[in-house]
Symmetry: C2
Subunit: 253 residues, 2 copies
């Protein structure tokens, strides 16, 4: 979807479907948790529950990586952590630059999840000269003029764009020209990149709008149900409960 395909035959990178790749980080996170609690092995059922997916899907996903399980027992946690890490390319260090050190950029710089696993913030870059030199998350911000040099010197291949919408495409162009081939875009814009460059986008307002759509739908169904049965608020079987004003939804487990 957001993958700059090398317009090769189809969407498999090597034999691993894109959908599977997107779930590997989820499995890895669950496995890391188990590893920290020194759990030696885990079944597909347990791990699937922890990752929030179907167990058949998980087994099929793992089958693309190889036969790493033992029938009747399950999967060796440590071994699987290693295999998935390797598959995802997390056994090496990825220097990352963050461009646009506003509220969001600063928050990203401070985010712990970076360093924890394979990623290292190589530099923070901002166009505002007033920011230059000021440390954010312990790293001094550098001016945008240095962008090309920073990317080149550090061998950066992954860039994070957290600029305002208007600046995103120019920044993207410069990053790509300097050698970056993967971009994570937080700006609310569609980025155009040459073939061979991957772009993934994270867009708050799109996510909210999708939620709003479903929310409206729920409210509509609710209203329709109430209209159909004004007296008996039809809550016979597992349907969705009231959004607002209505009976509070059920308690979780």
């Amino acid at each position: 979807m957001a993958t700059g395909r090398t317009h090769r035959p189809a969407s498999r990178s090597r034999g691993i479907p894109e959908a599977t790749v997107a779930r590997l980080p989820l499995y890895l996170r669950a496995l890391t948790g188990l590893s920290e609690r020194s759990v030696p092995t885990v079944s597909s059922e347990e791990l699937a529950a922890a990752a929030g997916v179907n167990s058949a899907k998980l087994r099929k996903d793992f089958s693309y990586l190889g036969s790493y399980g033992t029938r009747g027992v399950g999967y060796d946690v440590e071994y699987l952590v290693y295999q998935i890490s390797r598959e995802l390319g997390l056994t090496q260090d990825w220097p990352v630059v963050i461009v646009g050190i506003g509220n969001l950029g600063a928050a990203l710089a401070n985010y712990g999840g970076f360093a924890s696993r394979g990623f290292r913030v190589a530099a923070l870059i901002d166009a505002d000269p007033a920011m230059a030199g000021k440390p954010v998350a312990g790293i001094p911000v550098q001016h945008a003029d240095e962008l090309e040099k920073i990317v080149s010197d550090n061998g950066v291949s992954i860039g994070v764009i957290a600029t305002p919408a208007g600046a995103a495409q120019p920044v993207c162009d410069r990053l790509v020209a300097a050698g970056v081939t993967s971009i994570l875009n937080f700006a609310p814009t569609v980025l155009t990149v040459p073939d061979g460059v991957d772009v993934r986008k994270v867009d708050l307002s799109i996510e909210l709008q999708i939620l709003a759509f479903h929310e409206q739908r729920k409210a509509g169904e609710e209203a329709a149900n109430q209209a159909a049965h004004p007296t008996a608020a039809r809550r016979d079987d597992s349907a969705e409960q009231g959004p607002d004003g209505d009976v509070p939804a059920v308690m979780p487990a």
Copy 2:
């Protein structure tokens, strides 16, 4: 995908496929841009280019909403903006609460994209008593004890979770119990919710890991190409090359 299906027939909400719903905000954004520049009509080709999608897909997407175009001419921008806004439920106001006012939560609160279209930050909530009363983005932070009352009083149905991972599930449970039926989760955890509640997640490290996977793959192909054509050295790539002792596994160009 991340939609709490009502395990009803299939994945269509009303006749509108989920994939289409996910693209509507994209179209809306492009259309808003055109509207601001007073462009009266737009063809599927032009709009598709602006939104970064295929024109046939765009036409099919719109066909689910109705026949809003004029053959030989295109689509009326203003009319389409209205129809999509209505379909997405953006003609009404959605009060939203943000829970967890750390770096990220504060950045989200300051994000302009909220108020712009249908969404209103009804409250900021944090568990730290020291934060209580302190204004962030012009809104005073309230203590987590007030969560249920805030949700109830404001008729909040959408909640944003920006807490640390450990706090996410308990917060989620409380939000749902208080009546929230849509959750946008920024914490790196799998949330478990009852049926009828939608959860969408935004996860920085997952996105990075997916990029790393493709990046590693590119590096592998690159290395293989160089091996095949040692003279035709493409750009000097510095930091990578298979950490895995594994075979690069290439496919021919």
